[in-house]
Amino acid sequence: MQGIELDNITQTFRGAAMRSTGSEFKAVDNVSFSLDADPPQIVSLVGQSGSGKSTIARIILGLQKPTSGSVTYNGKDIYKLSSKEYDIYRREVQPVFQDPYGIFNPFYRVDRVFWTAINKFKLASSKQKGLALIEEALQAVDLRPEDVLKRYPHQLSGGQRQRVMLARVHLLQPKFIIADEPVSMLDAAVRVLFLNILLDFKQKYGMTTLFITHDLSTAYYVGGEIMVISRGQIVERGSVDTVLVQPSHPYTQMLLASVPVPDPDARWHEKTESPLKQEEEKAVIPQIPDLEVPGSI
């Protein structure tokens, strides 16, 4: 099969605090899904904080080896790829991370992310050609090269930085983008610009995106498929239009009911009674053990 396939992925952690009690904690629990390159699509993965979204992203990117289960790329386990196949995998599966601040090494200028990509993946044979590629990529994400090149990351705004990451993706032209909360730190106004570019990428370059978010409205905005994850398990999946319009799982319903609607005429308290009772809240908040116990040893 063509594409990325997750098969019964489980990831357990033993936190520092938990080491004493020995209890383990399943961040990802038996998750299976696949991302197809053809036709290009955007698959959203939504869920509350701590539900295991980032862990899944890291597993797909090969940054974290799952406790059990396998990730296959074009039918092959990504941990068993030959070095050539692995190169291809690296080239074709690229991330966009959440934090536009941490993604740049503060020691270097911003363009270094382009140049390392160009050098490592041998995208250009000369400096000029490389520069041309970079400029093209920057234009594709609506950035002026002179605003970005030769600058240090702290000299750029969050939105600019996130767009530089998109430009990098454009430069690499991967088949798959793993975007882990790429817009959660952006303003509403900038967020839309970003999402639009992502949509363009699908359209123009046929990139398939795993779009991870906790914001149901952005998931709705990008369209396509959606998976709802709760406490490491995928509880509901389907097309955005069905899942978000007629949710079937209570968790999805609860999530949806809690989303504030940007319309003063459709307020909650003008709707019926509060959907949330004390017990419910307790049941729903995953009791995530503190990983960093202050003052712990």
Partner: protein, 355 residues
Amino acid sequence: MAKNALKTVEKKTAVGSPLLDIEDLKVYYNTISGVAQAVDGVNLQIKRGEILGIAGESGCGKSTLTTALLRLTKPPAYVAAGRILFYPLNQQPINLLEVDGPDLRAFRWRNLAYLPQGSMSALNPVLRVKDQFSDVMLEHSEMSKRDALAMVPDLLKQVGLEAYVANMYPHELSGGMKQRVTLAMAIALEPDLLVADEPTTALDVHVQRVIIQMLAGLRDKMGMTVIIVTHDMAVHAELADRVAVMYAGGVVEVGDVRQIFKAPKHPYTRGLIGSIPRIGGERIRLGGIGGNTPSPRNWPTGCRFHPRCPQAMPICSQETPAFLPVANEAGSKVELQPLVACHLYSHPEAEGTSR
């Protein structure tokens, strides 16, 4: 209790009278690379009993403004100019920027309560919840410690928490519970004004909903005035009576929540509203606002929005637009007229074209 009840009644009757008058407030930061004019000439009026939402993109000065309201401005920030007039019940207005020491302390919490941004960490980690309650209650009243402690379960119940929470330490509480504990603490003395800075940002959607509904309920019950700061427009839509939109250190538009969402005046507000995706309905491509946030160390001349404004005119880069009332199609009443700082409205001829 009785006294508080009386106060509530008084407050409810005073609804609509002015509570806070912010005049040309300027709060600057001293930084290595120059002075950051984070809040630069804000004018705002808050009336008793209303919920005012303050919106605006990150870094536009929302938190700086609220901390200044509470006189919590700390170096390297300083108040460069302006007045904050506070109107106590049945008393002469007082410029908050001029009181100090014990006088200021008397104002705090009795009159002005605060839910800080990231109020998850607003609780002292080594004191039990009830002790943090009693601290503030003993400070501002003559009651005994026992009486103060006796009130705690009641207050907790008001924010939907069980009494046993009083005996817990902050780290034993979830984020939402902590947020509600601070809220309970804030309403303990039934203050005139509650300033909540991003009270829900770090919380999951359903907890966010609980908090927001609670704020609305409290206002209804106690006649409290609430200022809620958040960049999440949907929250404003849910909660606020009026919304002030900030951009680059200044308020660019203030108006009734419906007017802001239905008929935004300022191009920035329009952009903002136009960028909010909604669930359901037809999927249309939203516009967003291009360009970059300007630096507070170096604001653009004239209207600060002009470099990003789709309707920018030559005058925009030269003259700072005044903050003026604009007639609203919906409302004819003067107090419902939105205030906007935009050359589109200050020049009659331009006004025509924009409509």
